[in-house]
């Protein structure tokens, strides 16, 4: 059944192919855990953030936990975020134009009057200066976003919500690569094309012909 070369050779070759799929996948998962986001690399699909990002750009995301010591674990006005509305599949990448931060406990801090809420809807947040709060896990943020290239803010996209919360955020954009994302766009379109013709390019067929050719 396994031809002249035998079972072991077949298992070795099948293992090589499977490992070459498993390895990149595990690297992706590792990256996802390190950046704390389910999708550390995304492709821009629309032109709503032009001229900053164009369709086909690749974005690198991180999602620092509020209690972590990472710099700027607070999302602020001006940050570009990728978010997903529950019930809708497509992530959207737009810029924060308003952010309100809440802490559930009142903790007196240095330059602060003991007020629970602080509003940070000014463009320049550097004025917070030395009173930057220590990171806390009870942080709640309400945010409003808008695409740079859109005439109106995203309220209509929020599907009934008034504000975005941290749990909706996939991550914040930390870097990008232009054009490379077109590979993913083409692959996706090819995949949809192939799915409409089942059997022609099935994985079984590919594995079988590779093994026979050995």
């Amino acid at each position: 059944m396994f031809g002249k070369l035998g079972l072991r050779v077949f298992l070795l070759q099948a293992m090589t192919i499977s490992s070459s799929l498993a390895s990149p996948f595990m690297i992706w998962k590792g990256l996802s855990l390190v950046t704390n986001t389910e999708s550390p690399v995304v492709v821009v699909l629309s032109g709503s953030m032009e001229p900053a990002f164009y369709r086909g750009d690749i974005l690198f995301l991180t999602n620092p936990r509020p209690e972590s010591e990472e710099p700027q674990s607070l999302y602020k006005t001006g940050d570009i975020l990728v978010y997903k509305i529950p019930g809708k599949d497509i992530p959207i990448v737009h810029r924060v134009i308003e952010a309100h931060d809440f802490y559930s406990e009142i903790v007196p801090s240095d330059a602060d009057e003991g007020v629970a809420e602080s509003t940070s809807d000014t463009a320049q947040d550097a004025g917070r200066g030395g009173s930057q709060r220590s990171p806390r896990s009870d942080l709640k943020q309400l945010m409003l976003t808008k695409g740079d290239n859109n005439p109106v803010d995203d309220l209509g996209l929020y599907d009934g919500l008034d504000w975005l919360e941290r749990r909706h955020i996939v991550g914040r954009v930390r870097g990008y690569l232009p054009y490379v994302g077109y590979i993913s766009i083409f692959l996706n379109e090819a995949r949809q094309l192939l799915l409409s013709r089942p059997g022609a390019f099935s994985l079984k067929h590919i594995l079988y012909s590779k093994w026979r050719a050995s």
């Binding site: 070795l12 499977s18 490992s19 498993a22 595990m26 998962k29 855990l33 389910e38």
Partner: protein, 240 residues
């Protein structure tokens, strides 16, 4: 040693074994002991052969073709039986890591991100561990080894033999073409490995162009003759 000169392209005349071989006593085995059959004395008829053709610009393919030819040559009936330990360890660790990855993928797909994190961490660490083990095993324990074989013959007492072949490609150096270097370690013992009968270590280097022509067709008989000689030298207990 008399040997009939064999035409290079392999016509249908079979080679007869050298008549002096069967009666020669090797220096390190006790006199009167029957020597186990070496690979050169077992003939393959040309009709049984499949032609081997490789891309002779690719050193990896050349080495793999030589390795496979060597394994086939030594695994014929009456000769050695391959021990698949290294292969099985590699298969075991490799498939385990694939299953761990598949399991992690499935779990991550079913459970949403935040809740799935501990299990995905565990899967990732396990995968890295298995991959590291595979790499360490291949580098330190398996090394260059290509074939490990054993044989038990029952002449007057049970004689066990164990042979290990390692090979590597000697890379191109200025105008010297790439070469195939093979090292053979051989041990013959009896009484369950307690008394040593013979031990030999040989190695040989030959350029690939002496086995492969410009089309990439392999001259299997020539290669087998060369390997067979090295193996029989090792079986006689020579060390080189």
């Amino acid at each position: 040693m008399a040997r009939t000169k064999k035409p290079e392209n392999g016509t249908s005349t079979a080679r007869s074994p050298s008549p002096s071989r069967a009666s020669s006593a090797s220096p390190s085995s006790p006199s009167g002991e029957d020597k186990p059959t070496g690979p050169l004395s077992i003939i393959i008829s040309p009709e049984d052969r499949e032609a081997i053709k490789v891309n002779n610009a690719n050193a990896t393919e050349l080495k793999n073709a030589c390795d496979d030819a060597m394994k086939r040559y030594l695994s014929r009936p009456e000769l050695f039986k391959q021990i698949y330990l290294h292969t099985d360890v590699r298969l075991g660790l490799g498939w385990l890591s694939v299953f761990v990855a598949a399991g992690t993928a499935f779990y991550g797909y079913k459970v949403e991100f935040e809740k799935s994190k501990p299990v995905v961490w565990a899967g990732l660490i396990l995968y890295i561990l298995l991959t590291t083990l595979q790499t360490l095993y291949a580098y330190f324990i398996e090394g260059d080894v290509v074939y490990v074989g054993k044989r038990k013959t029952f002449s007057r007492r049970i004689v066990s033999e164990r042979i290990t072949l390692s090979s590597r490609t000697v890379p191109v150096e200025r105008s010297k073409p790439p070469a195939y270097e093979v090292s053979i370690t051989y041990v013959r013992s009896t009484s369950g490995g307690k008394s040593l009968l013979a031990k030999g270590k040989t190695h040989g280097v030959r350029e690939y162009n002496s086995f492969f022509d410009e089309e990439g067709t392999m001259d299997q008989e020539r290669f087998e003759r060369w390997v067979g000689e090295l193996v029989e030298q090792a079986m006689e207990g020579k060390s080189s």
